[in-house]
């Protein structure tokens, strides 16, 4: 079977090395079928969560260790008119990933060649710092206290397949592709701004919104939590500078002013 140009590029690795992959989310095209939610569970072999009827089709109410991708249902009344909107909620695969910045166990969170933030439960030490680092409240902890979240189907991407969610989506609300092409695609469809184009160094999951992001429960201008940003840029280097500075100051004092020698005749 002859390979297409895209497949050749993909197999040669050039494409993967030079271009970050992403998912474009178009809430205006989402019909709330939750096919992506189910496909994600099937591919990742995630068991169902026992939930109760809350009077909405939105189920479960939030992401869980067994739910990496969830359709959030938004009901809004505008001038006596009900609007029912849907949005895929999952890991954004930030370029400047807060979770990776604070993770103390190298390799527990890692960047795939396609630019996704994936995890290795064997290396996770269960410290929960990634909860503190995430601007979107995404990571969850399983029963063994290990991280659980969307990894953009890293195991499918590695073999040139697209994620289960985008493969399943029947309406084009979720599209997988090269990140910069997805941005162009959204702009060609008339969206002036793409959520995640520049935020946090560029999100792997891009949103083409007709409303404000906060309408869907997302921060309007997402960024690293202030405490995490301050820690990363100031405190972390300061720990090494402080230690080195203290040792250097002691050494400098010893060879310049010198120690308090015992007085003459005094035995110390």
């Amino acid at each position: 079977m002859a390979l297409s140009e895209t497949e050749k590029r993909r197999l040669s690795g050039v494409d993967i090395q030079t271009r970050k992959k992403g998912v474009l989310v178009r809430p205006d095209l989402c019909i709330g079928c939750r096919g992506c939610q189910t496909a994600c569970k099937e591919w990742n072999k995630l068991p169902g969560d026992r939930t109760v009827n809350r009077g909405t089709y939105e189920n479960p109410p939030d992401l869980t260790p067994n739910l990496y991708n969830k359709i959030r249902f938004v009901e809004v009344e505008e001038g006596g008119h009900l609007r029912w909107l849907f949005i895929s909620q999952r890991c954004m695969h930030c370029t400047e990933a807060g979770c990776m910045k604070v993770c103390p166990a190298p390799g527990a969170l890692y960047r795939t060649p396609e630019g996704a933030v994936a995890f290795n439960k064997k290396k996770c030490i269960g410290c929960r710092f990634c909860l503190a680092g995430c601007p979107f409240n995404i990571p969850r902890y399983d029963a063994e206290e290990k991280i659980s979240k969307c990894h953009l189907c890293a195991d499918r991407l590695a073999f040139g397949l697209e994620p289960a969610c985008t493969k399943t989506c029947p309406t084009g609300a979720l599209t997988f592709g090269d990140r910069d092409e997805l941005i162009q695609m959204a702009k060609a469809s008339g969206f002036e701004a793409v959520y995640g184009e520049k935020d946090l160094g560029g999100l792997g999951v891009l949103y083409a919104f007709k409303e404000f992001p906060s309408f869907y429960g997302l921060p309007d201008s997402p960024g690293l939590p202030a405490s995490v940003a301050f820690w990363k840029s100031i405190l972390k280097p300061l720990a090494l500078i402080g230690l080195g500075g203290a040792v250097a100051a002691a050494a400098a004092h010893y060879i310049t002013v010198g120690p308090k020698e015992p007085e003459e005749g005094g035995e110390e």
């Binding site: 710092f129 405190l235 402080g242 004092h253 010893y254 308090k260 015992p262 005094g266």
Partner: protein
């Protein structure tokens, strides 16, 4: 005891000091191992990240108890500031020149008092409390709060403890034996703690 020696510390104080020091070293080494990817090899010494995390937590418990034990030994003296203490501070303990003489100091000098109050007690309390927050907290808000202050206190510790080690060894010959043998010479007491020398009647 040799007639020219003065008892400086009790056996209990020395035991607790080294308990504190040992737990501190374990905490700092694993702390650096967790903080910097490039220093993660430090945690390999402690059996890998998973085990290093458990060791860090339980060394923290030892550290907590040890800090509490120090209160009986040093808190009382440290909170009493006298005019000699202000003199000591204004001349920076005579550390910046050979000619300055040390104002007469009690059992603890002003620098030791401040080190104890600001580093051991205050920063110690911050790192201990936030350590337990990070151990048990589930919410993002508490984790961010704990993570930030734990690291801030870490910076204070790694900057000040090397100075403590220098001042108690190379910078002041004859001092270190107070934490090993428990004694110092009369000459050392008269030189560094003249007020204390009078109090214990050796001058």
């Amino acid at each position: 005891m040799r007639h020219d020696l003065v008892q400086r510390t009790t056996g209990w104080e020395r035991f607790n000091h080294w308990l504190l020091a040992l737990s501190f070293i374990v905490l700092v080494l694993t702390g650096f191992g967790f903080l910097y990817n490039s220093l993660n090899w430090l945690n390999t010494i402690f059996g890998g990240n998973q085990l290093a995390k458990e060791i860090h937590k339980w060394a923290g418990v030892v550290f907590t108890l040890s800090v509490l034990f120090t209160l009986g030994s040093y808190l009382g003296d440290s909170i009493r500031f006298t005019k000699e203490d202000y003199q000591w501070l204004s001349s920076l303990g005579g550390y910046l020149s050979k000619t300055t003489t040390e104002p007469p100091q009690g059992r603890l000098n002003a620098g030791q008092k401040l080190y104890y109050l600001l580093v051991v007690v205050l920063t110690g309390a911050v790192i201990i409390i936030t350590g337990f927050i990070l151990w048990f907290a589930q919410s993002t808000g508490w984790l961010r709060f704990g993570h930030f202050l734990h690291n801030l206190a870490f910076v204070v510790f790694v900057t000040t403890v090397p100075l403590h080690i220098y001042l108690s060894t190379a910078a002041n010959p004859g001092t270190f034996r107070a934490m090993t043998r428990g004694t110092v010479t009369r000459a050392w007491v008269k030189r560094h703690h003249r007020k204390w020398a009078k109090e214990i009647g050796i001058e």
